[in-house]
């Protein structure tokens, strides 16, 4: 008989829980400028290490350094800062509106603003994003009207979704923003399908799929990587690793793999990790991946390393599962502050102008909010008709639905 001990069961747990001192000492952070910028036609096996390092541009002194720096002009960086500040102000107002009972639900982006805002600027018109519920920066950076976003959140008479969808589940074909679903990860394989279609038609447009760290555990993540790999689909597969899936720390989804980016290696998909709080780095990596897709070189997997500063949603209280001050200890800092400091260093921005811009943006958001509220909020004022509830299930309403609409008295 061979000697054997009783087996033990392994359940990963975060290093710190409420009451503890935040500790990110196990997060290995490359220094800014350290990670090489390969040619876009690089063979995936040549850049395996990119799946474990973190591409960063802005260093501790707010300088832009290294091979990924220098792609954006002052004007573009200033515009990026404005987008992030707008998203943050929008979040603050909508979070408050939910607390005031003007809507049922909201989800913030606090700390993750750079990811979606910078990514959008790497795309062309006609490209299609398949976002999750935490990429509203894609809309803001593309000039989608905040009024339409608020109308959707309020489910009011001008709601583009006619009151059928939960708040923040936006949809805009025109702005390359696929309809958001509550079901996690489903859009990841759909993004691959959209990209396959573009290739089938000999088009030049590309797709971008989005997923969070927690949802990479869903089967559709796997399906997307298999299909993208098999058909060399022109798609950028984005993983936003904000460390948390509601209350579940990222180690539960990641398990024993070193990083989420490393999941791409087994599929032969080039995989990169990037500092998700570094606007120029996010943009540069997105550009690289988008160019690969556009040049028919196939899919790229990108992991954005960031931190979910806010609660998961307005229905969540993070102090129940992580230290209250944990976000202060996050080593990659705050994306807005970091870009602001960089722009000040470049001599094109200042503390005063930043304060002034903050106030301007907030009053703009408040003005739009006031206008939205004249069209109703969830419980008061004008709202979508009950007849709309029966429309759009099918292209043409079948007889059984017509009978039900009649029974419903609408």
């Amino acid at each position: 008989m061979s000697e054997s001990k009783a087996l033990s069961f392994h359940v990963p747990a975060p290093a710190v829980r409420p009451g503890g001192t935040p500790d990110f000492s196990d997060v290995k952070i490359s220094s800014a400028g350290e990670v090489e910028r390969p040619p876009v036609d690089v063979a995936p096996e040549k850049i395996r290490e990119h799946a474990f390092k973190i591409i960063r541009v802005l260093d501790r002194n707010s300088q832009a350094v290294g091979p990924w720096a220098g792609l954006l002009s002052d004007a573009e960086l200033l515009e990026g800062l404005r987008h992030m500040m707008t998203l943050r102000a929008f979040d603050a107002r909508m979070q408050m509106a939910q607390r005031q009972g003007k809507t049922s639900f909201y989800m913030q982006h606090m700390g993750e603003e750079a990811v979606s805002c910078a990514f959008r600027k790497a795309l062309e018109k006609g490209d299609m994003n398949f976002p999750t519920y935490r990429q509203a920066g894609l809309l803001i950076a593309d000039g989608y009207p905040m009024l339409d976003m608020m109308n959707q959140i309020y489910s009011n008479e001008l709601d583009p979704m006619k009151g059928r969808q939960l708040p923040v589940m936006y949809s805009s074909r025109e702005h390359g923003f696929f309809s958001i679903s509550g079901n996690l990860a489903t859009q990841y394989i759909q993004a691959v399908g959209w990209a396959m279609a573009s290739a089938i038609k000999g088009d030049s447009r590309i797709a971008a799929g989005w997923i969070g760290d927690g949802s990479t555990a869903e089967s559709d993540f796997h399906a997307a990587l298999v299909f993208a790999s098999t058909y060399k689909a022109p798609v950028v597969l984005n993983i936003v690793n904000n460390q948390w899936a509601i209350s579940t720390f990222q180690g539960i989804a990641r398990g024993g793999s070193g990083t989420f980016a490393a999941r791409g290696l087994g599929f032969g998909i080039p995989a990169l990790r990037v500092d998700g709080n570094d606007y120029p780095a996010v943009h540069a990596v997105a550009k690289w991946a988008v160019e690969r897709a556009r040049r028919n070189l196939g899919p790229t997997l990108v992991e954005y390393v960031t931190y979910r500063v806010g609660a998961h949603s307005t229905s969540d209280d993070p102090s129940a599962y992580r230290p209250k001050t944990e976000s202060d200890g996050w080593p990659l800092g705050d994306p807005v502050l970091r870009l602001k400091n960089h722009l000040i260093l470049r001599g094109v921005w200042s503390e005063e102008r930043h304060k002034q811009a903050e106030a301007e943006i907030m009053s703009e958001v408040i003005a739009v909010q006031k206008e939205a509220e004249t069209h109703g909020t969830l419980h008061t004022g004008p709202h979508p008709s009950a007849r709309d509830m029966f429309e759009g299930v099918f292209e043409e309403m079948p007889p059984h639905l017509r009978r039900q609409r009649q029974q419903g008295g609408v």
Binding site: R164, S171, I189, W194, S198, A207, D220, G392, P398
Partner: protein, 337 residues
């Protein structure tokens, strides 16, 4: 008029649609080079190229999920799940995505896809090659569900399904692929070449979705059936000499209430037959509709003859499959009630 099997008719429908519309693409497991495990896509890849007809990884969610993405782009994917028994991994994509895309995006994005799947038993397929999961689709708002019973309808309905702008679940009774089957497993199967509905016109024609067909006119009792059970019901009517009116529903959703109600109002009796399990099966919906719409015309309770509420067994195939003897007993019972 040319005679075709149901397999040939289904292949012909895809061929016709691919020729007419460059946006129609066909894919699934073994669908490309090999032409499908049931030969339904044979020759299509050679004819249209691997850009439009191709093999996929073995991942049902991937197949349907990719189809939804392609549809959002503007293509019209007609995809195959090898057996209806294996659609469950794709159920999330079908229910949460394809079925709701038009509704939730207020028409900004649509999913004009067809998901073909061989369905039904009677072939010693055991638990995972015999199921009839139609009720899992008819219960979902936003899906259309179709079950053809003969080559003529199979081609016409599939062309309608591919041209429809809503997602369609197209269930093909594999027991009927090569010939009609009335449940008399002890007798040799007759090929479609000797059946009137094996006559399939060349080129484009459609059979409209949402319209039933009366297969046998009768005055004594209405039988509501679809797929293989249409022939079982015909055999049962003949063997019992009961003058049954047999309605082949063809489309389960949207259903053809007018045809059903007109028939039951005429006969005053109704038997519902399907292969799928009884409890919460599609027959429950049919039975409720008949009761709600024909209560004062009914001379007897609506009866259901279905598969038992068990997984589909192997050795007990003919004890499970609702054959002509069981349907015949129900016809007699409903006449004597």
């Amino acid at each position: 008029m040319p005679r075709k099997t149901m397999v040939e008719a289904i292949r012909d429908a895809m061929d016709v649609c691919m020729k007419r519309d460059d946006n129609v693409v066909v894919f699934g497991e073994d669908v490309g080079y090999f032409g499908g495990v049931f030969r339904c896509t044979q020759g299509l890849q050679q004819k249209y190229g691997s850009n439009r007809v191709f093999d996929t990884p073995i991942n049902e969610s991937g197949i349907v999920g990719a189809a939804v993405g392609m549809a959002a782009y503007g293509l019209r994917p007609c995809v195959e799940i090898q057996f209806a028994d294996y659609m469950y991994p794709a159920y999330d994509q079908i229910v949460s995505e394809a079925a709701r895309l038009r509704y939730r995006s207020n028409g900004q994005f649509i999913a004009p896809i067809v998901v073909r799947m061989p369905t039904g038993g009677g072939i010693f397929g055991g638990q995972t090659h015999s199921q009839s999961p139609e009720a899992l689709f008819t219960h979902v708002s936003g899906l259309k569900t179709v079950v053809p019973s003969n080559p003529y309808d199979a081609k016409g309905l599939l062309i309608s399904a591919i041209e429809d702008n809503d997602p369609v679940i197209f269930l093909e009774p594999k027991r009927l692929y090569n010939g009609p089957f009335d449940g008399h497993h002890e007798r040799p199967v007759t090929p479609w070449a000797r059946h009137a509905l094996g006559e399939v016109p060349d080129g484009h024609y459609t059979v409209p979705l949402g319209k039933a067909a009366i297969r046998r006119e009768g005055s004594a009792v209405t039988v509501l059936a679809y797929g293989t059970m249409v022939y079982v019901a015909e055999a049962a009517a003949e063997e019992t000499s009961i003058d049954a009116e047999i309605i082949d529903l063809r489309t389960l959703l949207p259903y053809d209430l007018d045809t059903i109600v007109a028939s039951v109002k005429k006969t005053g009796r109704c038997v519902v037959v399907h292969e799928a399990t009884l409890t919460s099966g599609y027959g429950a919906e049919l039975s409720a509709l008949v009761q709600e719409n024909c209560f004062y015309n009914l001379e007897a309770p609506v009866m259901r003859v279905t598969g038992w509420d068990t997984p589909y067994p192997h050795a007990q195939e003919w004890d499970y499959f609702p054959g002509p003897a069981r349907v015949g007993r129900a016809l007699k019972a409903v006449m004597e009630a």
